[in-house]
Amino acid sequence: MTNESDNFLAQSLKQFQRFVHKAGPSASASYTLLAAVLFLGALGFYADNYFNSSPIFILVGLSIGLIIGFYELAKSVFKK
């Protein structure tokens, strides 16, 4: 009984380790995608406030953020 439950726990932990290993790059890609849009969008927002040029820089920032985010995503998806 103890052996069975130990075996079950060990197997569960091994499976969890496997998931963690596989999920790492995906998690980093998804967070980078979101952060790129937010970061560049925020930079654009402050640039617009500074130069009084709304909404030019925020649009540029969001577009570049999307490009960088998807580039990072593509890097992790098409990794050799």
């Binding site: 963690v20 290993h21 998690a27 980093s28 967070y31 790129a36 560049l40 580039y71 990072e72 050799k80």
Partner: protein, 309 residues
């Protein structure tokens, strides 16, 4: 009781709920610093609530991790006991599940100590936010020692300003993410040399016009990674606490809306169990967020070491 207090002060509960929630999750302002210190190089060096919490966390990590580990090293027996046993399990899990698969066997011993430091520090900083130590001190101060909340010079009242979750502060998470940023640089430089590390940022053998686009994208990508770490940890730690306080505030809001204590008690029958459930969820969040920060740092460091294009 809150309702009576609010009515007599002349402002509604609704006016105070938002401010109260923000006050509970943000750092104490400089006027309510725990220790007032002069400016140094234009920076106010006063000790605020989150600075105090960081010191407490550092002390707790030192006591619960460093002391058992040093005791284990001193003993003749290689079999760990008690606390050292638990620390060994966590250390082994982080080394084998997080660090080794990402950075590779050659660098695992180089980067495991940093990842463990991140994990334990963030875990303790997140966890301490779930323990209402200062709130209990405030209640004792108010109802046992009869010190009014308005008594600003009272030391315990000074401790009540601001939240206790230091990792809910973007400055704290940004500092942790800056460490990650430099770790990525150091990892890449140690593995490939300074010049090659920067060369590895972009794929080799492409037409030169492509590099005009790729180099700025990669450089921005370098900054985006620590930014993602900063935002994710601070936002997650703040979000849970806001949800908890918002749910508990419903009692006072409904009591005021219907001018009846019974309405407040009725809502409490739903909101308090929900808040308790979210508190349970927050305990998982405390562990998961420490784990995710460590995992992402390992992934980013691993990407600098094992370059794939």
């Amino acid at each position: 009781m809150i309702l009576v207090g609010e009515k007599t002060s002349g402002s509604s509960v609704m006016d105070k709920v938002g401010k109260n929630i923000i006050d509970h999750v943000s750092n104490s302002d400089i006027d309510h610093a725990i220790v007032q210190l002069p400016q140094l190089f234009g920076i106010n060096m006063s000790v605020t609530k989150h600075v105090l919490m960081l010191w407490i966390v550092a002390l707790l990590v030192s006591i619960t991790i460093i002391i058992p580990v040093r005791a284990y090293i001193r003993q003749n027996n290689f079999i760990p006991k008690g606390m050292a046993n638990a620390i060994e399990s966590i250390t082994q899990f982080i080394r084998d599940s997080i660090v080794a698969p990402n950075v590779g066997p050659k660098w695992v011993n180089t980067w495991t100590p940093l990842m463990l430091t991140f994990f334990f520090f963030i875990l303790f900083a997140n966890g301490i936010g779930m323990i209402p130590v200062f709130d209990i001190l405030g209640v004792i101060n108010r109802f046992v020692f009869n010190v009014p909340y308005e008594a600003d010079h009272n030391f315990v009242n000074g401790l009540l300003h601001g939240g206790v979750t230091a990792t809910g502060n973007f400055n704290v998470t940004a500092a942790l993410a800056i460490i990650t940023f430099f770790s990525i640089m150091i990892a890449g430089t140690k593995a490939h040399g300074f010049i090659n590390h920067w060369k590895n940022l972009v794929p080799h053998g492409l037409a030169w016009p492509i590099y005009i686009i790729l180099i700025p994208i990669e450089l921005m990508g370098l900054l985006v990674k620590p930014f993602a770490l900063t935002m994710r940890l601070a936002a997650n730690m703040t979000g849970g606490h806001i949800a908890l306080l918002a749910l508990l505030s419903l009692m006072a809001i409904f009591a005021e809306m219907f001018h009846s204590a019974a309405a407040g008690i009725g809502v409490a029958l739903i909101s308090v169990p929900m808040a308790a459930a979210i508190s349970g969820l927050e305990i998982i969040v405390v562990i998961v967020q420490a784990y995710v920060f460590t995992l992402l740092t390992a992934v980013f460091v691993g990407m600098a070491i094992n370059v794939h294009h």
